[in-house]
């Protein structure tokens, strides 16, 4: 009863927020609605008993990825009038793609059949007495260890690639060297001179 109420509440908010991501005129509002969407998706994961996925969704997407989105969107200098003027040019193409997607969704909806025994295995996200995190960890680090490591490697390469592409060595930039600063002594940086009267000018 309560779970059902919660499910419909979260899904309704989620769909409304997802709609607002596309529909709202201010891109910053769009990003904030996206956060709301993720939040409700996380809540739905919790209702399914997949609390690990819910929290990973929160701190990977909401806590890190969307923060970067927000940074970028806030820095953008957008002329809304100009953006809206372009809508008519792409209306035909956009509508075509939209209708295509809607048709595909409808086909899936009509042709959807679940395997006869799958309902029983869906009752619990994980076997009883094994926590979510443990179950996922056991599968990831045993059966799928090579895929897991490969995914990590791909991410590492992407990260290094991004750094290499954007790193510029500009000549003439004076960088701070903490080591050199700490190694400085009064003897190295000061020189005492005896100035005779009348010669100091």
């Amino acid at each position: 009863m309560l779970t059902t109420i919660a499910f419909y509440l979260f899904s309704a908010i989620m769909i409304a927020a997802a709609f607002m991501v596309v529909a709202s005129r201010n891109p910053v509002h769009s990003v904030l609605f996206l956060i709301l969407t993720f939040f409700n998706a996380a809540a739905l994961f919790v209702l399914l008993g997949a609390e690990f996925l819910a929290l990973v969704l929160l701190f990977v997407y909401v806590g890190a990825v969307v923060v970067l989105f927000l940074f970028v969107v806030m820095m953008l200098d957008i002329d809304f009038e100009q953006l809206r003027r372009g809508v008519q040019d792409y209306l035909l193409l956009g509508a075509g793609v939209g209708i295509l997607l809607a048709c595909e969704l409808l086909m899936i909806l009509i042709a959807w059949k679940s395997a006869p025994l799958s309902a029983a295995s869906l009752a619990h996200a994980t076997p009883l007495h094994v926590t979510n995190t443990e179950a996922l960890g056991r599968i990831l680090y045993t059966d799928y260890i090579y895929y897991f490591q490969t995914a990590g490697l791909v991410l590492l390469i992407a990260m290094i690639g991004a750094i290499v592409l954007t790193l510029r060595h500009r000549p003439g930039v004076r960088r701070q060297s903490i080591k050199a600063q700490n190694a400085r002594t009064p003897a190295m940086s000061m020189e005492l001179k005896d100035v005779l009267p009348g010669q100091g000018s």
Partner: protein, 349 residues
């Protein structure tokens, strides 16, 4: 939990048979409301303590006018904020301007849901408690960014960017510290982590350097001095909340102190054995809640002392400390801890 029979009885006495699910929900809600009220009140005590400790270090008296020893000073300040007019700057994004302090305060309160204050005394004893804390604290940055952006002020926005960069940077090393602790304890459940310390608090194990990193990172995460660069009084105005007045400002202030107390609580739970007593006879008779509060206050005392005696960092020094010192150290410690748990405790891979 203990309130379930009460609500069943209360509704029964007016002739309504309450299903178990509803009485459970009602009892949880009552528990949460009581807990949060106590927390909000305790913030008043902690703010006063902070000011008193700070004053004592400076050989001042601190607040001493309102109430005995100035004990009601925080309440008086809060009342003053309530009765002021809420000023929303022209050109500000009104909805987001109001939303930002609400985000900050709500998240600060929400994080307490999984912190066990004594054996079994926890609002939600979930199996992923540590992840929950990490998720909630990583959301705290939104209150800051949204406040800075919605204010429509260059100063607020610049300060929000500074604060956000700082919080995101130190979150990384906090995450690694949490990983070492959960490797060592073998659980993500905060109550189980406390239980795992029954034979020795993690403070006295190989995790001690992680405690130091966590302590310094929490100072940076909550923008306490010496890392309070976003409101460095000598060079800037009040940071991302410069346009805020009255109750919205109070909410930011409340959220900030609540976060500080939360991180003190986390240090207590993760490293100092939570509610566990020092195992010597007369001390073990003291109830767990007092041990928890005592340890929490000891950590808070250290934080207040740091505020009083350490000069402010420069921004580049702050970034260097986070990315070039804490991140590699904590990463190395994750590997070391994992190796120790595998090869020493479990005796081989």
């Amino acid at each position: 939990m203990a309130l379930i029979p009460f609500w069943t009885w209360a509704f029964h006495s007016v002739g309504i048979q309450l299903p178990y699910g509803w009485s459970w929900t009602l009892s949880q809600v009552t528990l949460i409301v009581i807990f949060q009220l106590l927390l909000a009140l305790s913030v008043a005590v902690f703010i006063l303590a902070d000011r008193k400790i700070w004053a004592a270090v400076h050989l001042r008296r601190g607040p001493n006018v309102v109430g005995a020893f100035g004990m009601l000073q925080t309440i008086a300040d809060a009342l003053k904020f309530f009765f002021k007019e809420v000023i929303i700057p022209a050109g500000a994004n009104k909805a987001l301007f109001i939303l930002a302090p609400l985000i900050a305060a709500t998240l600060a309160f929400a994080a307490w849901a999984v912190v066990p204050v004594s054996a079994g005394w926890v609002v939600a004893n979930i199996n992923v408690g540590i992840l929950y804390i990490f998720a909630i604290s990583s959301l705290g940055v939104y209150g800051v960014i949204v406040a800075g952006w919605a204010s429509n002020s260059k100063y607020a926005f610049l300060s929000a960017l500074r604060a956000a960069a700082q919080m995101v940077s130190y979150e990384v090393s906090i995450g690694f510290v949490l990983i070492t602790v959960l490797l060592f304890a073998g659980s993500l459940n905060l109550s189980a982590i406390v239980q795992a310390q029954a034979h020795g608090w993690f403070f006295f194990t190989m995790l001690f350097p992680m405690f130091v990193i966590f302590f310094v990172s929490s100072l940076a995460e909550t923008q306490r001095p010496p890392f309070d660069l976003l409101e460095a009084e000598s060079e800037l105005v009040a940071g991302f909340m410069v346009e805020y007045s009255s109750t919205p400002f109070l909410l930011f202030f409340l959220g900030e102190y609540m976060n500080v107390i939360m991180l003190c609580g986390m240090m207590t739970v993760l490293f100092l054995g939570g509610w566990l007593p020092i195992p010597i006879w007369p001390l073990t008779e003291i109830p767990g809640i007092f041990w928890f509060l005592g340890k929490l206050f000891a950590v808070f005392f250290m934080m207040a002392m740091v505020k009083a005696i350490v000069p402010r960092y420069r921004y580049d020094q702050l970034m260097r400390l986070g990315w070039k010192v804490f991140l590699p150290t904590s990463l190395l410690w994750v590997v070391l801890t994992a190796a120790w748990v595998t090869f020493v405790r479990h005796g081989g891979a």
